[in-house]
Point group: C2
Chain length 372, copies 2
């Protein structure tokens, strides 16, 4: 194998493939990037078996890619990336030597890096699933960012460690919950589809990092895997086994209390109050009246805080309700702007946070017991 390529194009492609590589992977080959030179393209593959990324560079004048000899090799990702990054020249030459090592050189310097034969790299099937959905990159990014934070960090219930993508017709419903809070986003699709899959949150984070917001993508699903096809890159994710809980019945439909407030006012107040922590958790209490809305905290060791919410409009009887400040903070950040509506059923009932303007995204939080 022997090729010339633009340093920056090669480095960027290595960076994309390397996103799939995990330092915990038990298989030594998976700490490497598989580099394959075809007649007129270079294919880079990274994987940890949970997520696999394949990116292709097609020969063009812009990327200076010239394949002189076809072939393939696997190189430890951290070595090759560090080395490529430090080269001064704009174009590099890459050559596989006899003993499965690679020589990378420019006019000034020359590195020989030990590698592995490509035959030792597991064969990964990148065949495209049958169900293909066109997606705006921006919308996919928003959808993931508005839900992913609510996935569970604990492996106790594996189904909760991913975001559920469920479609029965023209509406895609994306749901994440760790059983203390829930985030749900509805997306209208141009066509009708039927699937119900859960994608690991870590893999969705890597998708977000790779998205080019200028280009649209294809979201391809089967009952075995999901693919995100972003230009010349395929990000392929395994699905989480086990059924995602039925969450519709958790979401209350009628409410006795409502609080409307500006996004910036409420998130600022919660951010400040979150400094008062009890064993790492900030318990925030709202004392709500039609005349006055007060946000307060108390932690035995640290101290307390109190703040009257500006421009808050509350309707209903007096209500005291407490919650984990971090959960509401993250839920608000997903809504991101405008006027926010909190809808409550009672002191110990789950409550809903929504943007007054955008109804497609819903955040639900379970309250905590209010201190005296």
């Amino acid at each position: 194998m022997n090729f010339k390529i633009s340093k920056s194009v090669f480095y960027n492609a290595l960076q994309i493939a390397a996103r799939a590589i995990s330092s915990y992977s038990p298989l030594p080959a998976f700490s490497g990037i598989k580099i394959e030179a075809k007649a007129d393209s270079l294919i880079l593959i990274g994987s940890d078996s949970d997520i696999s990324i394949r990116t292709v560079i097609l020969s063009s004048e812009e990327n200076s890619l010239i394949i002189k000899e076809m072939g393939s090799i696997v190189i430890e990702s951290r070595y090759i990336m560090e080395i490529i990054r430090k080269f001064d020249a704009e174009t590099l030459e890459f050559e596989v030597l006899e003993n499965s090592s690679a020589k990378i050189s420019d006019d000034v310097s020359e590195f020989k890096i030990n590698g592995m034969r490509a035959s030792e790299y597991p064969n990964i099937d990148f065949a495209k699933p049958a169900t293909l959905i066109d997606f705006k990159s921006e919308l996919l990014k928003t959808t993931i960012m508005q839900t992913i934070f609510a996935t569970s960090k604990s492996e106790n219930r594996p189904a909760l460690t991913g975001v559920n993508f469920c479609c029965n017709g023209n509406e895609l419903i994306c749901t994440a919950t760790d059983s203390y809070r829930l985030a749900r986003k509805k997306v209208q699709l141009a066509d009708s589809y039927h699937f119900n899959i859960t994608i690991p949150s870590r893999n969705l984070s890597e998708v977000v990092k790779t998205l080019d917001l200028e280009e649209d993508i294809v979201f391809a699903v089967s009952d075995k895997k999901a693919q995100f096809i972003i230009g010349n890159t395929i990000i392929q994710s395994r699905l989480i086994d086990g059924s995602f809980p039925e969450t519709n019945r958790l979401i209350p439909q009628s409410f006795s209390y409502e609080l409307e407030i500006n996004y910036s006012d409420i998130i600022g107040a919660i951010d400040r109050a979150s400094l008062i922590k009890n064993e790492g958790i900030s318990v925030i209490k709202l004392s709500l009246d039609e005349q006055e809305c007060i946000l307060s905290t108390r932690a035995l060791e640290v101290g307390s805080s109190k703040e009257t919410l500006k421009d808050a409009k509350f309707s209903g009887e007096h209500l005291d309700i407490s919650f984990n400040g971090q959960y509401v903070f993250e839920a608000l950040r997903a809504l991101n702007k405008g006027k926010i509506r909190f809808s409550f059923c009672g002191e110990m009932k789950p409550f809903i946070i929504q943007s007054v303007e955008e109804k497609d995204i819903l955040q639900l939080v379970l309250p905590l017991r209010t201190y005296a």
Copy 2:
């Protein structure tokens, strides 16, 4: 105690005092900042007994400091800094309550933070030592940065964990060594002084962070302590006990080989080659001839590299010499620019790196055994 103050002025002063606070301090009071309101000034003190910082804010229109009631309190530094940072208002009110807690408030919100009585805070003597030296901030910063990296990270020989400041007349000599390399800077002083002290490297790092390069400082020394007086701030450091080794005899005076090369060329080549590491250490070999100068590395597991040095001028017989790439990299970075001269005595003898233009700074490195 009760005062009003500009949020940003208060926060900046807390940040300075907090630099002395170490999370390892065994004394609970030392995790706090002592805040003392005098008739027309606010005094903040942070310490871990090794280093103590005292900064004073004098009442002025600019900082909005108005002392309404004198007094003092100690507040956990991480709590007070986080809280002050998150306030929206430009001016804050700070009031000590009866139960040794403090109320901090603006128009919108109010925090009550538990504190400690100031009487529980150790008394720190900030009396000024007799020997006072005026110093340009810029020069002090350069002097510390050009030597501090060569101090020892190991506590085996405590004297080597600091930078030695030695003065016998008009010349101040600052030396750091970890016994594998040495950095020495000479500074000409306007007056004549006599002292020989070693200041812990951690404390010098905090001095560098606090320096305002616009203002000059006073460096005050006794045989007990050193003070850096920076505007209204005093940084006071203990000295390291035990005598600093006599290093003059280690520095060779005559050389058989000389290499001259541009700073940017040699540091670039070493930076690239340092990627090839053997058990975390990059062993770099120079093969020097009057015709050609080659820099190479080899590591069994990773691979090898080779580079012909551009515009290198070598005089002497053929020389192969190897060294720890990190040591030479850091020594070069301290020289920072221009034309660099390496002066060698032989394959296994310490060698010197100096700027051709600036003779006041000298770097010495011990070579490693050259591989075959």
